[in-house]
């Protein structure tokens, strides 16, 4: 993403002055609007944080928006006890599925951009359609098929599903990235009579780190946050990933608000940390989702 703030180009002095004045007048208003929007976007975070540290007596509507009078970690402790098994499930699901997705995506992206076969574009389009389908349209037969072939139940099923339905987006991310690698490099490898795997291993793979980061963040975030596959494919509550557990415990209307909020925050922490540390790459993955390089 280019983030350069272009300096105003030099123009005739009078025009330049008037333009600058106009921008200067507009600026405070502009910042006010930007800050206003930032506050609105962050309001739910304020509610989450404030409520999660309140005692049970303080979560009544009258104190809804105020800061906690007495800071307590009770709700957090409770959320941790309730969610830690499912958080572990989510890690056991998201980490292997992300790694497998990235490896497949890198190979597919390489072939579809640098070692093309006749009809590669057509195949790529067929892949891409799989990215947009509502997964409901495959969900019933998917669970039937996995039952019929005795696929190991529980987390392996979810890993498999996320890897398969992650093929389109990861192929797209890697293909977009590899198409920016100059063909000269490929020519050089060809001169050395390097085969496909050698070219991939010694020319392409060493350059792939940024694409791996983008694809990994994208896959990790969407797998961690997935609810649909989990709710259809996992029948054993002990194997629930954190989204399902969160919806079942914190989502219940009898659960006190402070616990709901601390649980929601806790379940979101891994992806939020990834976002805070690697937000720049996150944005690139988003743009790939719009089919844009």
């Amino acid at each position: 993403m280019s983030t350069t703030t272009a300096a105003p180009p030099a123009v005739a002095p009078i025009q330049g002055r008037s333009r600058r004045r106009r921008i200067a007048r507009a600026t405070p208003l502009k910042y006010a609007v930007l800050i206003g929007f930032a506050i609105i976007v962050l309001t739910p975070v304020y509610v989450l944080l404030v409520t999660s540290f309140k005692t049970i007596d303080e979560i009544d509507p009258a104190h809804a928006w105020s800061l906690p009078q007495t800071l307590t970690f009770d709700a957090w402790r409770q959320a941790w006890t309730q969610l830690s098994p499912s958080m572990q499930n989510s890690f056991k699901l998201a980490i292997p599925a992300t790694i497998l997705s990235c490896v497949l995506g890198s190979m597919n992206g390489f072939v579809l951009s640098k070692w093309r076969f006749p009809g590669a574009d057509l195949i790529f389009t067929f892949f891409l359609f799989g990215m947009f389908i509502p997964y409901q349209a495959v969900m019933i037969p998917l669970s039937l098929l996995l039952d019929d072939i005795h696929f190991p139940a529980g987390i392996p099923r979810l890993i498999f599903a996320h890897v398969v339905y992650g093929i389109p987006i990861t192929a797209l991310i890697f293909r977009n990235y590899y198409s920016t690698i100059p063909d000269d490099l490929m020519e050089a490898a060809r001169m050395d009579r390097a085969g496909m795997l050698r070219t991939y291993w010694s020319v392409i793979l060493p350059l792939s780190a940024p694409a791996f980061v983008v694809a990994a963040i994208w896959q990790f975030t969407s797998i961690w946050n997935d609810f649909l596959f989990a709710v259809f494919l996992i029948t054993d509550p002990a194997k629930w990933p954190v989204t399902v557990a969160l919806n079942n415990t914190a989502g219940s209307l009898v659960t006190p608000f402070n616990l709901q909020m601390s649980a929601a925050l806790l379940a979101s922490l891994p992806t939020l940390i990834v976002y805070i540390l690697l937000g720049r790459f996150f944005m690139r993955g988003l743009m790939a989702g719009a089919l844009k390089g």
């Binding site: 930032a38 509507p61 076969f117 409901q136 495959v138 969160l246 976002y275």
Partner: protein, 295 residues
């Protein structure tokens, strides 16, 4: 022959993925279609062929038409909301402001949070309880002296679906902003400069040079948000659960499978969701791939 030896290994390397996509996307879509034309209406799996009976049944199903109404309202609010806010934020950031990266990260952060987690907060914010038991945004309205804005939010029997779009707009406006920002930045600076040299005011530069450039981005944003809207599921689960007042087609399908064990009808709804999305996505895909081939 030399050609095959050249590209053969590539095809071989991709072939596992091709097979997986062929089976698990296209094959299962076909299988789902078959389920939707079967007589499998209860827990026991049956496979008799009844044609389009279930689809005909949906035509007169009042619950289904209610779901479609909810989805329609939700989609309108969602698409208009994200496009307006995304466009506005991109416009404000376009010319470069101090702390642009900071603002962008804030506007985009909801994308990193699951709909289940954000749904829990928004259910609190949009608490429909009136009077003394009021909570969330209704309290804020009261304190700000605009108590007349207090409302039932998503519990409103007729327009609740519009309130449901609020968290969705919150979650995806930043994304649309990023799309538009890339669009704004894609306008060649020479074009803007040329218009300025001709004496065009900054507003006219935008109106006649920049905005026409944004048409493809606007279309892309419209299609992407539209297709997310048709699929909406987790957010509704987190806020309304299985309540009929917030039900959309994806929820109805879930209820049919899990509670009613009516697999044929669930499969029929899934197929209709797919058809709706295909109408949006296929022309977009074909157009994008063709465009790419041309450049």
């Amino acid at each position: 022959m030399r050609g095959v030896r050249r590209w053969g290994p590539g095809l071989l390397l991709v072939s596992p993925s091709i097979i997986l996509i062929a089976v698990f996307v296209y094959g299962l879509i076909g299988w789902n279609l078959r389920v939707s034309t079967s007589d499998w209406r209860e827990a026991n799996r049956t496979n008799g062929f009844v044609g389009l009976d279930v689809y005909k049944e949906l035509r007169t199903d009042e619950r289904w038409s209610l779901d479609l109404r909810h989805l329609f309202l939700f989609t309108i609010a969602f698409v208009v909301g994200t496009l307006v806010f995304g466009w506005l934020l991109a416009l404000l950031l376009d010319k470069g402001v101090k702390g642009e990266g900071f603002f962008r990260s804030i506007y985009l952060f909801p994308m990193a949070v699951s709909f289940i987690a954000s749904g829990i907060v928004w259910r609190w914010l949009m608490n429909p309880a009136p009077g003394d038991r009021a909570s969330g945004l209704n309290v804020v309205f009261d304190k700000l002296g605009v108590g007349f804005l207090s409302n039932q939010w998503w519990q409103h029997p007729e327009w609740g679906a519009l309130a449901l779009a609020l968290p969705a707009v919150w979650a995806l406006s930043g994304y649309v902003m990023a799309l538009f920002l890339a669009g704004f930045r894609g306008v060649p600076e020479e074009l803007r400069e040329a218009a300025r040299m001709d004496g065009a005011s900054e507003w006219r530069v935008y109106r006649h040079v920049v905005f026409p450039f944004l048409r493809p981005v606007t279309l892309a944003a419209l299609i992407i948000i539209g297709h997310i809207s048709i699929k909406v599921f987790d957010l509704i689960v987190a806020i309304g659960g299985k309540q009929i007042v917030t039900e959309v087609p994806a929820i109805y399908m879930w209820v049919l499978i899990y509670d009613a064990r009516d697999y044929a009808k669930g499969a029929a709804i899934a197929t209709l969701l797919l058809v709706g999305i295909s109408i949006l996505i296929i022309p977009y895909l074909v157009y994008t791939v063709r465009q790419e081939r041309r450049t």
